[in-house]
Symmetry: C2
Subunit: 241 residues, 2 copies
């Protein structure tokens, strides 16, 4: 996947785009770059002149503490305009890194601006994408603060599945998720050892399988019930915006 199609699809899940708007997006110049696992896509502290969107694979936002500890604050799937933030924030408060091999497209800020000036609707749609990011982050905060580890893990799997299915990157109830248990710990705020034990528990309960970077949900209903997962916050419905 080396063009902007995934982003168009992501937008079209939330509202109808006019042909003119689609053309505007497709006309954005795209610097396509592929990364292998665990590479830096955008650096914390930098002042990027471009924003990037995920075209293939997974990216994550990552923050680091003094003692080398790391927290992953978001995971991004194909079609996510990950780094739209830097267009307005100017200076990065976090890094964007690859999870497994990942292809992204960089768009100059000047072109982001041109598109938003050419189309009020696309301006709102880009804004919407960052606001949905915020909703996902709120869900993560609640997971970290008040859900049990089992619920948190289940919630993460449900969320990823629904987001991937929405952009057509899931087959049945299975999806690829090429990350290590250490990275999973950095998402959940847990040690690697504990991630391992909890994964075994969920597997043991017959809720999911997780082998060779492939996640399979055995019973979505039960998993969602355990997680108290409600997909409303993903705004995956058509609505005039």
């Amino acid at each position: 996947m080396t063009d902007i199609t995934p982003l168009v699809r992501t937008l079209q899940r939330r509202d109808v785009l006019s042909p003119a708007d689609i053309t505007l997006i497709q006309a954005m110049p795209l610097r396509v770059v592929s990364f292998s696992a665990d590479q830096e896509i955008v650096s914390e502290g930098s002042r990027p002149a471009e924003s990037c969107a995920v075209l293939y694979g997974f990216a994550a936002r990552s923050q680091y503490l003094r003692e080398g500890q790391r927290q992953i604050t978001a995971v991004h799937v194909p079609g996510d305009f990950v780094d739209l933030h830097s267009y307005l924030l100017k200076k990065m408060d976090h890094s964007v890194v690859s999870l497994g091999s990942c292809t992204v497209g960089y768009v100059p800020h000047a072109d982001v601006r041109a598109v938003t000036q050419a189309s009020q609707h696309l301006a709102r749609m880009f804004w919407l994408l960052t606001v949905i990011d915020g909703a996902i982050q709120r869900a993560w905060i609640t997971c970290l603060g008040r859900r049990s580890v089992d619920q948190h893990l289940a919630h993460l799997v449900c969320e990823l599945y629904v987001r991937l299915a929405a952009v057509g990157v899931a087959s049945g109830l299975t999806f690829d998720f090429p990350i290590t248990q250490q990275e999973l710990g950095d998402m959940l705020g847990l040690s690697t050892v504990h991630v391992n034990r909890r994964l075994q528990k969920l597997r043991g309960l017959g809720l999911l399988q997780w082998q060779n970077s492939k996640v399979t949900i055995v019973n979505f209903e039960r998993l969602a019930d355990l997680a108290e997962f409600d997909e409303t916050y993903l705004s995956l419905h058509m609505e005039p915006r």
Copy 2:
């Protein structure tokens, strides 16, 4: 405080506003409502036709789980356009509640739209506000996932102090923060009992005082160092946006 001045000040901390832009903001119709402690300002699941901004006091975003557990995912101070999100998200994924007594101004979505259509710059500034919210939420995720409880508490106090000072609602190193230890626990993802013990520890270390809803930072440098607090993510600097 019953007019939109705090919001203007918040914006002006990030970029220069033209006189025309200031007039546009001040012309927005404002339905001012005051709340006592712990009232619902916007309800989870609702579809608001207005967005609200905090004019006086504190508001919080709040999510609830089945067993009655609650997580506060954000705290908002005067000048924050809290619920700009609902303009694009349409359906609330969380509630907005008052922390202590609080005055907010509701602005119809139609007027938000009118302002953003009248001024490209204000459109970007409003967008910026939601993106800064996202940056704060990322910091909270990292606090919850990877900071110790002491660091988390210290980080929260540093963040609140800097945000309040930025809008001129702090006197010296002291600020009002009218919340219970239970609410504090709902921010930090902790039990009330544990919040109490940790507060005592920070007081004992001579880093801060917290009495009768008044927080005083004894030594900001040491507190910030403990918390690994870096205010970059608050975007409190002038920059053309």
